[in-house]
């Protein structure tokens, strides 16, 4: 490693900033290469006699999807109730409490469902993926896979990516339903609005485009979570401490990327009239 430049605090600051920028660009490049390679094995693996094992994908789907369902239900239900509380409180000023269903249905379908699900999956499965791959890296298990002629990306990342591409949208749909259920129950108690009435209004207000927007975002979030988790795992250096740091980093970067991607997609999808 070259010696740091001598020339005061400012030069040193620039030097550090430059090094960090180069490292960040390297990592971004690595993550992009990981995306390409993961999809390559998913799509072309069977033709290369190196298929992604369906049993591995099923195992990961259980972990990413089914085991996350209870917590997704609980939090989404709570968010649905909170939206109903805030919505009724705000709309009461205008005497328009009856319109609360519009706010709940649209915001849950377009924003909160995909966002809550993605944040939960990032915290649960993204962190677990980074920790798993990081530990394997430290214990030379990744090297062992390579010398056995097993591509680590195909073996470790592609099954998770496939599982997330299926299960994050499914969980998102489940999250939307759970939040609507929470909102419906609160509206029933507070406004005496029947479940049937809530459901009818939801169907009227929510267009297919709203649902597609939510599900499309969830697919993008799935790719981000899988690849940020995997990239941080593969880049682990320095033993157990490195694994802990990579896990934390994976969660922080995933959630930041999800929120930023959500903002960008919301802006463009709304401009496009979806």
């Amino acid at each position: 490693m070259p010696n740091p430049p001598s020339g005061g605090y400012f030069i040193s600051f620039l030097d550090r900033g430059g090094r960090k920028s180069v490292a960040a660009i390297n990592e971004l490049g690595y993550a992009v290469a990981l995306v390409v390679e993961s999809f390559y094995w998913l799509l072309l693996g069977p033709f290369k006699q190196q298929p992604v094992r369906p049993s591995s994908v099923a195992e990961r789907m259980m972990e990413v999807g089914l085991r996350a369902a209870p917590i997704v239900f609980m939090l989404s239900f709570a968010v649905g109730v909170m939206l109903a509380i805030q919505g009724i409180h705000t709309l009461r000023v205008f005497g328009a409490e009856g319109q609360v269903v519009l706010g709940i249905a649209i915001s849950v379908t377009r924003e909160f469902g995909p966002l809550i699900t993605a944040i939960l999956v990032a915290g649960r499965s993204g962190a677990a993926l980074a920790a798993r791959i990081g530990t394997m890296q430290v214990n030379q298990e990744v090297d062992a896979l390579r010398v056995m002629g097993i591509n680590p990306v195909r073996y470790l990342v592609s099954p998770v990516l496939a599982a997330m591409l299926v299960m994050v949208p499914v969980l998102t749909a489940f999250s939307i339903f759970s939040a609507l259920l929470g909102g419906a129950i609160f509206c029933r108690l507070q406004l005496d609005l029947s479940y049937y009435g809530f459901w009818q209004q939801t169907i009227i207000y929510v267009a297919a485009g709203d649902l597609y927007q939510g599900l499309f975002k969830s697919v993008v979030f799935a790719v981000l979570i899988a690849l940020i988790g995997a990239a941080n795992g593969f880049l682990v250096r320095g033993g157990a401490e490195g694994v802990g740091a990579a896990t934390t980093r994976a969660v922080v970067i995933s959630i930041s990327a999800i929120v930023l991607a959500d903002m960008v997609f919301t802006y463009f999808l709304n401009r496009a009239g979806v």
């Binding site: 010696n3 290369k48 030379q140 062992a144 056995m148 097993i150």
Partner: protein, 263 residues
């Protein structure tokens, strides 16, 4: 010596600007056990990583079974990797799988065999390393010696032509280490496999090696039979064999430079 299964020519490896291997030359013949010895930081582990294709050399070539690792395509390299087995220092067993599943993994990934056949083949290899009754356990439930033997079973499950060991005796008590040495000799005799062992255990190397290569500061100092290497009057070799600490002679200026340099 018969034809070489491993040929290393002018191998240079660097980490950043630091040169780790500096023009290494090596030949390992059929059914030979070669021990690579050297002190900490001498470059022996880096050499092993290059031999098994885990690191790309800065320059020079590594040929395994006549194949230049740098010129192989992904598919060709995968096929070649089936001809070699590696037992890592810590075992590197996949912790989420049972011992039996670990041993079956290379067979399963190769494909073309039914589950029963793979199970029988894996159990056979576990019997070879005296772990026949431990296939259902997880790696975390095994002792250090058992983990190394399980890793060895996985390394030989594809009946490789080349076997590599990274510090097989490290962390083991003398009796278990001796058992592992016997196992290495048994494998060479029964399978005719060529074996490269990276180690710093003198007794182990003297017991199993046909030839020993001594590496120091990234260069092969000496290669020869056990007797030839033991008889060497090379000072660094004698330091290693006689466990003598090496004291660098630095001038006052060099010492001051080392203390005051940034890295």
């Amino acid at each position: 010596m018969s034809e070489s299964l491993i040929e290393v020519d002018s191998l240079v490896a660097e980490y950043g600007r630091r040169r780790i291997l500096d023009g290494v030359e090596m030949r390992v013949g059929a059914a030979e056990i070669r021990c690579i010895m050297g002190g900490s930081g001498s470059g022996k582990s880096t050499l092993l990583r290059h031999l098994i294709g885990l690191s790309e050399p800065k320059s020079g070539t590594v040929r395994l079974l006549g194949n230049d690792l740098r010129t192989l395509s992904g598919g060709e390299k995968r096929r070649l990797m089936r001809e070699i087995g590696v037992a890592f220092q810590g075992g590197a067993l996949l912790s989420s799988m049972s011992v039996l599943d670990n041993v079956m993994l290379p067979l399963r990934e190769r494909g073309g065999l039914d589950e029963n056949t793979m199970r029988i083949m894996a159990r056979l290899k576990l019997e070879v390393v005296n772990l026949g009754d431990f296939g259902d356990l997880l790696p975390a439930q095994l002792s250090g010696g058992m983990i190394k033997r399980a890793a060895l079973a996985r390394a030989i499950v594809m009946d490789p032509k080349l076997l590599f060991f990274d510090e097989p005796s490290a962390g083991l008590d003398p009796v278990v280490a001796a058992e592992l040495d016997d196992l290495i000799l048994k494998l060479r005799d029964s399978m005719g496999v060529s074996i490269v062992v990276v180690t710093h255990e003198l007794q182990s190397a003297f017991k199993i090696a046909d030839r020993i290569s001594i590496i120091d500061h990234g260069k092969i100092l000496l290669t020869g039979s056990v007797d030839a290497v033991r008889a060497s009057d090379n000072e660094r070799v004698q330091d290693l064999f006689n466990r003598r600490a090496r004291h660098e002679e630095l001038s006052a200026e060099e010492y001051l430079e080392r203390l005051t340099s940034a890295h």
